[in-house]
């Protein structure tokens, strides 16, 4: 979602993300129709917001790396491929640890 809108609309990706954030908060406050599912849905929402904040560069330093023109999110694949040559097969959790170390 982020890369797609970043490509098409540039800075509007920010606006879009903020809108989702606000809508998600409002929906939870207003209807609470998750019922028995509410607590699990809430956990999903927390993780979704981490991503949105990272896209907005407001995640306390743990942000998605952006290209100089702010148009694209940069994935970690290139740097991690080098790590993989050293470590051989990593599971995806290990990859995320390396991703974090590589970017921040």
């Amino acid at each position: 979602m982020f890369a797609m809108f970043g490509n098409l609309f540039g800075l509007q990706a920010h606006v879009f993300s903020v809108q989702i954030l606000i809508v998600s908060w409002l929906q939870f406050l207003l209807d609470g129709k998750g019922g028995a599912y509410t607590s699990t849905l809430e956990q999903y929402r927390v993780k979704a917001e981490y991503f949105l904040c990272a896209a907005l560069q407001k995640n306390n330093g743990a942000n998605i790396k952006r290209s100089p023109g702010k148009m694209l999110g940069i994935l970690y694949r290139t740097s991690l491929c080098l790590e993989e040559e050293k470590h051989k097969v990593l599971d995806w959790k290990e990859r995320n640890v390396l991703l974090y170390e590589a970017l921040f």
């Binding site: 982020f2 998600s24 599971d91």
Partner: protein, 142 residues
């Protein structure tokens, strides 16, 4: 270049019950469920076909679990399924809930939230491999 214009070998591979690929089938189920929403008004017949196959693929993906690149090992050199298939199972169920409104699909996303890793990880990528962020965003709008 269009695939039909390519002159290199175009080998086809398959997944089945003995050679499963829950990530591949799950992603395809999600795509078809999403497409069924797009065509719901303009082409209801096509939309229903998409939804029917999406349901079948999700059941197949969930029943016969396995990573597609274990069944199609040549894919490891190109599109390794790093994140496994748990994220695609949730991704498919989330889109099927969106397309059908049937509680069973939402139930799947909720009941398997922990076991399939849906609420375990805060991530900063959404990619061909890793769908968790997409699931988390979709569920936010339930």
């Amino acid at each position: 270049m269009r695939p039909e214009d390519m002159t290199t070998s175009r080998t086809a591979y398959k997944i089945d019950a003995n050679n499963p690929g829950s990530d591949l089938a799950g992603e395809t189920a999600a795509a078809m469920a999403a497409a069924s929403i797009v065509f719901r008004n303009s082409n209801p017949t096509y939309s229903a076909t998409l939804l029917g196959h999406s349901r079948q693929l999700f059941t197949f993906a969930d029943t016969y679990r396995g990573a597609y690149d274990n069944s199609i090992s040549v894919a490891k050199g190109y599109y390794n399924s790093w994140s496994g298939y748990d994220d695609e199972l949730l991704w498919a169920a989330a889109w099927l809930f969106d397309a059908t409104g049937e509680n069973s699909y939402l139930q799947y996303v909720v009941n398997n939230a922990v076991s399939l890793g849906g609420v375990g990880w805060a991530l900063d990528q959404f990619s061909w491999d890793n769908k968790y962020v997409g699931v988390q965003l979709k569920v936010t709008k339930v």
